[in-house]
């Protein structure tokens, strides 16, 4: 009788231990999966930030800021007389173009 009880108790203990280990494995898998998702989310956030940076640093956006902030670049190669820099639209000039 004792042997049977001992077997049952031992089997139960082993089963509980196995179940606990399984549960731990599931928890770890869940955490692993969650971490994986977080990495992917962060990666996606980086991509989105890359786009936001691109929006702010796009040439048209930069030109707008330069114009708004009244910043003047001094180009190493002198731009034509009517241009302060390549970012500025030249003023309309009189054209003397002839017919062909």
């Amino acid at each position: 009788m004792l042997k049977i009880l001992l077997c049952l108790v031992t089997a139960t203990a082993v089963a509980v231990a196995l179940l606990q280990l399984r549960q731990q494995r599931l928890d770890l898998s869940y955490q692993n999966n969650r971490l994986h998702n977080e990495i992917q989310t962060e990666q996606a956030r980086l991509w989105n930030q890359q786009i936001q940076i691109a929006v702010s640093t796009a040439p048209n956006a930069m030109q707008q800021v330069i114009a708004q902030q009244d910043i003047h670049f001094v180009a190493p190669a002198t731009p034509p007389d009517h241009l302060h820099s390549w970012t500025e639209m030249p003023k309309p000039s009189e054209s003397t173009a002839t017919a062909e």
Partner: protein, 639 residues
């Protein structure tokens, strides 16, 4: 005795338990099998497609032109939600409270969500809200509402807005490229979606997928273009400015590096926003000066006319006939052509006119003054066969092979279809149709020593991790076809340098760089009705600096308001020159040395030659350069 009874009781108990277990197993394997498997699958397994991220498009400097963002969408598994609340014994009031919580987060009215769920009680995916931000996503997670979930998807985004729209093209709502590079390289950019069958525990927490149930997405590859967005910006500004100033129908501009064939900018006016290409409708209003006799009165802003809309070029075509004539010794720049005033009658009775009544002109001035009569005489001497050979040597009538869809070959009739009228027409740039890109490519030959270059837009391809997997090699000019010899190239460049000084684009001359160019003013064809007397295509092709050409520009303005101006030198010339100057300034190209006047033996032959036009204008510029210092010393000042 007691022990036997107790053992018997325990044995019976275990037997009963075993019988119950066997019975349960038997039931699960037979009658209840399908039901339980379906429930298990629903509760434990969740399969989903893992979308691939569409590749990024960069310009030549690494500026992002088209990217992909991840969007978050709130969805509800309506069937699961109803089942869950029923099995938990919770009332519909509890469910309404949960829905109200969700509605507050996504800024919607609760009854709207409840109505959608009520209309689709068995749906497994009911979309509730899109484009959620991180805070909303976190708040929804905290609510922990059964059946509510967040799905992630990708959306295309164009940070430059409408810039370079015709190059990029745009992507439809299904994620497939609609036009431009997005269409041409859809397979490269799109990547391949993956999938996973995720196992979930009793709390519906994802606990992983088996190896055979998981295929990761293969993200799209990235393209690096030859486009320089700064030059593209300048080109689009100058094109729009010119089109608006002259109330033009439409316009195109192509900027190329003649040494490599790299397309640095390519723009059309009007344009569209690739973010919403399907919403870009043609304009419904026409400039007041326009008539209604053309089929394309309302140009589709999505059409990349630089490649797909050939036109009769007019006088900008003349260098591509005169150059081979020089190379074949048919004529030379000093030969005097007997131009009889403003009208010339051909041997078969057709009248050819010049705007000004010139007298005899050397070939030099036939180009600089753009004499139709002089070119007709040259065409007659060349004959149709050599005219055809000259045109085909510059690859007109053939697509350039640029990496964009829908490129037109232009229109060049086979020689057998040419008539006696073709000689004068083709010599003046009529009876042939070319695209702005073909013109730019042809002009590159005069800028790179006479070689036919291959225009291209793709600089390289990167894999999803940014590693280089393909690169367009820099062409070795010596291995490319030589259309005209280097001496002819030098002569032609020098002649065309006179066009902005004393020719048809006089007044547009750059004080900083020597630019060679050619204007064009072509009557617009009305089909069988002949040519319009009031509507023109105005154009200017140019290259610079003449001593070491780094840029070639084709600048085309269609149908400007004649009441303002219509000659190519007045309409397209200033815009093209501004573009050239701003682009060379951006590229930090040093100023050109002073352009020497034509040699005396040439000068004495030129029409109304004025040596003062060649006086040095760059003394001030040279001083400014020395003040500015080396290229590294870029200063930013605030006024």
């Amino acid at each position: 005795m007691f022990s036997t009874i107790r053992a018997g009781f325990i044995f019976s108990l275990l037997t009963c338990l075993c019988a119950a277990l066997i019975g349960r197993v038997a039931w699960l394997q037979t009658a209840g099998r399908q039901n339980i498997l379906a429930r298990a699958d629903r509760q434990e397994q969740e399969s989903q497609v893992l979308p691939a991220r569409r590749g990024t498009i960069f310009d030549a400097n690494g500026i992002l032109m088209a990217g992909t963002i991840q969007t978050s969408t709130l969805f509800i598994d309506a069937r699961f939600m109803f089942d869950h609340y029923q099995s938990e014994g919770r009332s519909l009031v509890d469910m309404d409270k949960a829905i109200a919580g969700l509605a507050a987060v996504v800024d919607k009215r609760p009854f709207e969500i409840a109505k959608v769920l009520g209309d689709n009680p068995n749906a497994r995916f009911v979309k509730i809200a899109e484009n959620l931000d991180d805070n909303q996503t976190a708040a929804i997670g905290k609510l922990n509402i059964p059946g509510a979930g967040i799905s992630h998807d990708y959306a295309r985004y164009y940070p430059l807005g409408a810039m370079a729209a015709h190059i990029l093209g745009g992507v439809g709502t299904n994620g497939i490229g609609l036009d431009g590079l997005e269409l041409k390289f859809n397979n490269v950019l799109a990547g391949r979606a993956g999938y996973e069958v995720m196992t979930k525990d009793g709390h519906r927490r994802a606990i992983g997928a088996d190896e055979q149930d998981y295929a990761p997405p293969r993200h799209g590859q990235n393209l690096v273009l030859t486009i320089d967005t700064n030059i593209q910006l300048i080109a689009e500004q100058e094109l729009a400015d010119s089109c608006q100033e002259f109330q033009a129908h439409r316009g195109e501009v192509v900027v190329m590096d003649p040494r490599t064939g790299a397309v640095l900018a390519l723009a059309n006016y009007p344009t569209f926003n690739p973010q919403n290409p399907e919403d870009s409708a043609p304009p419904t209003t026409r400039p007041a000066h326009a008539t209604n006799d053309a089929d394309d009165n309302n140009p589709d802003p999505r059409r990349n006319s630089c490649l797909v809309s050939p036109f009769e070029p007019g006088s900008i075509f003349k260098p591509f006939i005169a150059g081979p004539a020089f190379a074949w010794n048919v004529t030379n720049p000093l030969e005097i052509w007997p131009i009889p005033g403003g009208v010339y009658t051909t041997p078969y009775g057709r009248k050819v006119t010049d705007v000004h009544a010139y007298g005899p002109l050397p070939t030099w001035d036939v180009l600089v003054k753009s004499s139709n009569i002089g070119m007709s005489l040259l065409g007659e001497r060349l004959g149709n066969a050599r005219l055809y050979r000259a045109i085909t040597s510059f690859a007109f009538g053939r697509p350039t092979g640029i990496e964009l869809p829908g490129e037109s070959t232009g229109l060049l009739n086979p020689l057998a279809k040419w008539t006696k009228y073709s000689t004068e027409s083709v010599s003046q740039g009529y009876e042939v149709m070319v695209t702005p890109l073909q013109l730019a490519r042809a002009m590159c030959a005069y800028a790179n020593g006479g070689h036919l270059i291959q225009p291209h837009l793709i600089k390289g391809v990167l894999d999803a991790d940014g590693n280089l997997i393909a690169r367009t090699p820099t062409p070795d000019l010596s291995t490319l076809p030589q259309i005209v010899d280097t001496h002819t190239v030098e002569v032609m460049r020098r002649i065309l340098c006179d066009v902005p000084i004393r020719g048809t684009a006089a007044g547009t001359r750059s004080d900083t760089w020597n630019i060679f160019g050619k204007t064009g003013t072509a009557h617009i064809s009305l089909g069988k009705a002949g040519y319009s007397e009031t509507r023109f295509n105005s154009s200017f092709i140019c290259g610079g600096p003449a001593e070491n050409p780094q840029l070639v520009i084709a600048f085309i303005i269609h149908d400007p308001n004649r009441n303002i101006a219509h000659y190519g030198g007045a309409v397209a010339g200033p815009g093209a020159m501004h573009l050239m100057e701003r682009a060379l300034s951006y590229m930090q190209v040093p100023p050109s040395p002073d352009l020497p006047p034509p040699p005396p033996e040439v000068a004495k032959l030129l029409w109304e030659y004025n040596p003062k036009l060649y006086e040095p204008k760059k003394a001030a510029a040279a001083q400014s350069v020395s003040r500015a210092g080396s290229p590294d010393e870029i200063a930013i000042t605030h006024d």
